[in-house]
């Protein structure tokens, strides 16, 4: 079992630890619901060091990436981040990743913890002789990653002295902390304003402690994986292994916005063009009492029409809601569906996505 550099911090904070992707990670410190609500109202601190970092370097790095990912690398400037699914040849999702452009010949990929080895092998395998001047480096064991999320996160970062006022959403800066370069980006997985920090392992503990101390005045609390999941689900961000899967067509999983079909060539493009899509990702709200969970059957009339991909009690909305991959027919908003919860058919209705607007789409 692996541990992140912050393991002892979690233990000293009395976190309940669970195995996640081979890492002992905190699922909660006090209560999932309290931690979730605290992020929406104030700010929360997440250890996401289990995630992976892969560098792609060289003269041909950009053109290699353009072939590798479904989104358009030409949209990237130095200091910017882009989100993209990595597709396989059948149009399914290998992983969903972030790509940071450090300079013209250096890109940093941030990948899901459960897919680090798989993604690295995938990238290696597809690095054919077409791209001579490219090298790839799995940096996952060298770097830690911390996320600070919530409406008070900007005030906290300002207090710690980092100059980030000019940083826009999906941009990053390389900044010095204790004489070492760290990366701070305006990214996150909660739907709130926030930052993600990538830094060498040796710096992580002092950075975490520093933020927790400075953050006391802003009600900063540590947040575990339990609330990380309920937070992303409320804003309908997809999760690999749930909405995104190797054998589910990417355009059915709600990530079409991050796929640029105008690109001439990328892995999976042909499959997306040629494969008929019969399913669609819908959001639903329980009408009768019950909590939907991943894998539960979804029914309409006498027919099974698909499966729940994610479901939970959502703390901000105080409702049981979920996402499901279902047959495209009869999926209008307000349509009635039934979720098979432990052999009982429980009524639900299809609703608009997202359940809660992420910060960048809110009116205020």
């Amino acid at each position: 079992m692996k541990q992140t550099v912050l393991y002892n911090q979690h233990i000293s904070l009395s976190a309940s630890m669970v195995d996640f992707a081979g890492f002992m990670m905190p699922v909660k410190y006090t209560s999932i619901i309290d931690e979730h609500l605290n992020v929406r109202k104030h700010c929360g601190l997440f250890d996401v060091s289990h995630m992976g970092q892969i560098k792609i370097l060289g003269k041909d790095a950009k053109s290699f990436l353009q072939y590798l990912i479904a989104n358009n690398v030409d949209k990237l400037r130095i200091g910017q981040v882009i989100y993209s699914p990595l597709l396989n040849e059948t149009g399914g999702v290998v992983d969903d990743i972030l790509i940071y452009m450090l300079n013209e010949t250096e890109f940093l990929l941030v990948v899901n913890a459960s897919n680090i080895e798989k993604d690295f092998t995938w990238i290696q395998t597809h690095l054919s002789s077409t791209y001579e001047n490219v090298s790839i480096d799995n940096m996952s064991m060298n770097y830690s990653m911390i996320a600070l999320q919530g409406p008070d996160s900007e005030k906290l970062m300002k207090k710690t002295g980092f100059e980030l006022a000019d940083l826009s959403y999906y941009e990053f800066k390389e900044i010095y902390y204790k004489d070492e370069k760290i990366i701070i980006s305006r990214t996150g997985y909660t739907g709130e304003v926030g930052f993600e920090i990538i830094l060498e392992n040796s710096l992580a503990e002092s950075f975490w402690i520093m933020l927790l101390n400075e953050g006391k005045e802003f009600n900063l609390k540590p947040v575990g994986l339990g609330a990380r999941d309920s937070l992303r689900l409320e804003v309908c961000f997809p999760l690999y292994g749930h909405e995104l899967q190797d054998d589910v067509l990417a355009i059915e999983s709600g990530v079409s916005w991050a796929i640029d079909m105008n690109k001439e060539s990328f892995i999976g493009r042909e499959a997306l063009v040629n494969t008929r899509s019969n399913y669609k990702l819908i959001a639903f709200e329980m009408v009768e009492r019950g909590i939907p969970r991943a894998g539960y059957d979804v029914c309409q009339g006498d027919n099974s029409v698909g499966k729940v991909t994610s479901g939970s009690f959502l703390p901000s909305l105080k409702k049981n809601m979920g996402l499901a991959l279902v047959r495209k027919e009869q999926t209008e908003i307000d349509s009635e569906i039934f979720i098979n919860i432990r052999s009982k058919y429980v009524k639900a209705k299809i609703v608009k996505k997202p359940f809660l607007l992420p910060f960048n789409r809110r009116k205020n």
Binding site: S16, K28, G226, I291, I341
Partner: protein, 124 residues
């Protein structure tokens, strides 16, 4: 470290039991409530329901998971803790006190149940 009161009996499936005057008071252990995380719903059984040892007696739903709670004895449900229906957090906050679940009328002596030490080694 999980809280495991010495004066109670336990089942491997994480129920605690206190048998007094032919009635078994039952709840879930501190270990169980920690594993479940935030409990959001408890579906209590009907009063009068007959249960056998090992039957699924009720279901607890947390943010993360749904869990069956098993009857540790043979008998009849004579009382249920309605407070946990309106305030399911009681199971997290006070699993051995305010978070009790049911009272079962039973002839069982509870001899086959685990004591605190036995339960502790079963979860380690």
């Amino acid at each position: 470290m999980s809280n495991i009161p010495e004066d109670l009996k336990y089942d491997k499936s994480h129920e605690w039991i206190k048998i007094e005057d032919g009635k078994a008071l039952v709840g879930i252990t501190d270990h169980a409530q920690t594993e479940l995380t935030d409990i959001v719903f408890v579906e209590l059984p009907e009063i009068g329901a007959e249960v056998k040892t090992g039957d699924v007696m009720l279901v607890i739903e947390s943010v993360k998971v749904a869990a069956d709670v098993y009857s540790p004895v043979n008998g009849k449900i004579v009382e249920v803790n309605e407070e946990v229906e309106s305030t399911p957090e009681l199971l997290n906050q006070d699993p051995y006190g305010k978070g009790w679940l049911v009272k079962i009328e039973t002839d069982d002596s509870g001899e086959t149940l685990l004591d605190a030490a036995g339960y502790r080694s079963s979860i380690e």
